[in-house]
């Protein structure tokens, strides 16, 4: 699997770049933001924590940059992302509690949006010039609206005014988390509106990409042959769609970055206790250790999603398998 190995190299280097950016930024930025932050902390945190922060950002240790870099890596390998200043607990613990919510929300909405968008794109490309084309300008509008703005409007109309959906939070207060049906159904109920928001905002991209590829693919000779053989329409469409879908999967890495960024902001609107909300806390309080931890974890999650998309691509495209 040579193409996969190449991708893997890219992802490893990406992870390295993200970690190194994390290491270098606070040390090289003008205006010494870390010094300012530590100055503000004086007397507000325990001495042990102050020491932990100094260790993480290499302040007052009189170490060379390289030594700091090495110790930064060894901290990372021990799963130590530093101490959150505002929440006074390790960043890894904080993230462990919030990441599942974000991944659940994002995973579900991405799958729905990809599947639905691709199917609609196939229909649009196949039956061009039909009433379905009316979807195009509409989808452009949803694509152009910022995620968080759409979320705000939906929250207001369907949550606060019409009471169709519960608002704010991730499950009904008072329920104990567990594998009970009451809890799970409540989680689903509270996730509905955020998922709808993310799907509405992200579906247009998949749909348009698929439609354009379908329009082009339907001109290929093999589609004509399939039709000439008298195969049922459903089968012909499947033939065309199978090769038209490849660019969509290949462009997954481009799309997922945008979707993740948008979804983080949707969490803010719905007060969903995921990574996006944590990110806002970190920004407002200038909690740099938390901020860096979040950036790193988001990057690694996106890379993992890309890797899955690459495996799917290999499964779908026999040409890639043959090259290996």
């Amino acid at each position: 699997m040579i193409p996969l190995a190449r991708k893997l190299v890219v992802y490893v280097i990406t992870a390295w770049v993200a970690i190194t950016v994390n290491f270098l930024l606070p040390r090289l930025m003008p205006g010494n933001p870390i010094q300012t932050m530590i100055g503000k902390l004086q007397g507000r945190v325990t001495p042990a924590m102050q020491q932990a922060i100094q260790l993480q950002f290499g302040v007052g240790l009189h170490q060379s940059l390289w030594d700091q870099y090495v110790s930064y890596w060894s901290q990372l390998f021990h799963g130590n992302l530093g101490q959150s200043i505002t929440l006074s607990s390790p960043v890894s613990t904080v993230l462990g509690g919030t990441l599942p919510w974000t991944i659940g929300l994002l995973g579900v909405s991405t799958v729905i949006s990809f599947v639905l968008g691709t199917l609609l794109g196939i229909a649009l490309g196949w039956r061009r010039g039909s009433w379905l084309d009316g979807l195009l300008p509409l989808s452009t509008f949803f694509q152009a609206v910022p995620y968080f703005f759409l979320g705000t409007v939906l929250l207001l109309v369907f949550g606060s005014d019409l009471h169709w959906f519960p608002v704010l939070g991730n499950y009904q207060r008072g329920l104990t988390p567990g594998w009970s049906w009451a809890f799970i159904s409540s989680v689903i109920r509270y996730a509905e509106l955020p998922v709808i928001t993310i799907v509405l905002s992200s579906i247009a991209g998949w749909m348009l990409g698929m439609r354009n590829m379908m329009v082009t693919t339907m001109d290929e000779d093999f589609v004509l042959v399939a039709r000439a053989k008298g195969l049922p329409t459903r089968k012909v469409v499947t033939y065309a769609a199978r090769s038209a879908i490849l660019p969509s999967v290949a462009n997954f890495s481009l799309a997922i970055g945008l979707v993740v960024s948008g979804a983080l902001l949707v969490e803010l609107v719905f007060n969903y206790p995921g990574v996006g909300n944590l990110l806002l806390q970190a920004v407002l309080n200038q909690d740099y250790p938390l901020l860096q931890g979040i950036f790193l974890v988001i990057t690694l999650t996106v890379l993992a999603a890309n890797l899955i998309a690459d495996f799917v691509y290999v499964a779908l495209d026999p040409r890639v398998r043959q090259e290996a």
Binding site: V10, Y11, T14, V17, A18, V21, N22, L25, M29, G31, P33, G125, R128, G129, S130, D133, L136, T140, F141, Q143, A144, V145, P146, F148, F149, T152, V153, L155, L156, S160, R211, N212, V215, T216, M218, D219, V223, L224, V236, S253, I256, G257, L258, V260, S261, L264, L265, L268, L279, L280, V283, Y288, L291, Q292, F295, I298, T299, V302, L303, N306
Partner: protein, 351 residues
């Protein structure tokens, strides 16, 4: 396998005309705006461009003037009411256009220049340079842009956060990779053409071939990449401002949403505060996306016919039900037919 609808003048069958020569810039410029989508896009963008220029002058009040009554509903004096601090929201909207559009434009421009240089260099040189540059592009594609920008911007000193120029350039850092990848692929296909070979044999320098021979053939893709990047940049800038990462004292539509959200405007039903900036963002985004449709249809003529309605197709003289294996290509003005169509005889005959 394409029908040239407007090539109604019967061409002598069998006489093969060479592939249509590349038309001059004027021809391209005139042909683009004919589709209604492109006209709509151009009108929207033109209106907002004018607003960018004159917005702060035509605004009735200063956006920071908090001397009015607080939380007013829309009225003749205050078209969009006032904020919880007593500032005129309509004036904020007009003032906000400038920073939003300027950052989007700068970021789009810088990112496009970067992607042109990197994409064409990688595609044309190939080998080690290509490997390195493609790797860089792939790394930047894989890193999620917004979280990186949040980390970058939150380390900026206060003066940096209110500097729209700087913010624009920083956004461009995360926005160039996509364009570079597309341009690299196109460069690789263009560089094998005869005229590039000819230029090489004549002894033109590499730089000259890359930017004077190859680049003019990629203009449509560069334009599409610019529009896409500007769309991305505006969205990203708004998101950063909404989060409060950029200076909250610079008026843009994201800052307006930030203040509206932080004073609970959505929950108190003050739609006149947060809906107008959101709609403005959506309109600018739609305008850019519509223009991009036009460019896409310019690059890929098959999409042009695909966008027509039933009525439009009848008007263009196309068959009612599109047949398989036959994509009508709509051409707006007579032009030399391509070899395939000419070989098939006069118009309306496929295969």
């Amino acid at each position: 396998m394409s029908v040239h609808v407007d090539d109604l003048a019967p061409l002598p069958a069998g006489q093969l005309t060479p592939v249509a020569p590349v038309k001059g810039k004027v021809g391209r410029a005139i042909r683009l705006p004919r589709s209604p989508k492109v006209i709509a896009g151009l009108v929207i963008i033109a209106i907002f461009a004018i607003l960018t220029l004159i917005g702060p002058w035509v605004a009735p009040f200063s956006p920071n003037d908090n001397s009015f009554a607080q939380n007013l509903h829309p009225s003749a004096a205050h078209w969009l009411g006032t904020s919880n601090l007593g500032a005129d929201i309509f004036s904020q909207l007009l003032n906000g256009a400038r920073a939003t559009m300027v950052v989007g434009f700068i970021a789009g421009l810088v990112a496009t220049v970067l992607s042109v240089i990197i994409g064409i260099t990688a595609g044309y040189l190939g080998g080690g340079a290509d490997e390195g540059l493609s790797l860089a592009a792939n790394v930047f594609l894989a890193i999620p842009g917004l979280p990186l920008l949040i980390v970058l911007d939150s380390y900026l000193p206060a003066s940096g956060r209110s500097n729209t120029l700087l913010i624009g350039v920083i956004i461009a850092i995360t926005g160039w990779a996509w364009g570079a990848r597309v341009l690299r692929a196109q460069t690789m296909s263009v560089k094998r053409r005869d005229f590039v070979e000819a230029a090489r044999i004549v002894g033109e320098s590499r730089i000259r071939i890359m930017f004077f021979e190859v680049l003019p053939n990629l203009v449509a893709i560069v334009a599409s990449s610019f529009l896409f990047t500007m769309l991305y940049s505006i969205g990203t800038y708004i998101a950063l401002a909404y989060l409060g990462v950029t200076s909250t004292s610079v008026w843009n539509w994201g800052t307006m949403l930030y203040w509206a959200q932080s004073s609970n405007a959505p929950l108190t039903g003050a739609w006149w505060w947060f809906v107008p900036p959101g709609l403005c963002i959506a309109l600018v985004g739609m305008g850019l996306a519509l223009l991009n449709f036009g460019v896409d249809e310019f690059i890929n003529p098959r999409l042009r016919a695909a966008g027509l309605s039933k009525k439009g197709m009848r008007k263009a003289g196309l068959p009612r039900n599109p047949k398989l294996g036959l994509t009508p290509v709509v051409r707006n003005r007579p032009r030399p037919a391509t070899a395939a169509a000419t070989a098939a005889g006069p118009a309306k005959v496929a295969r």
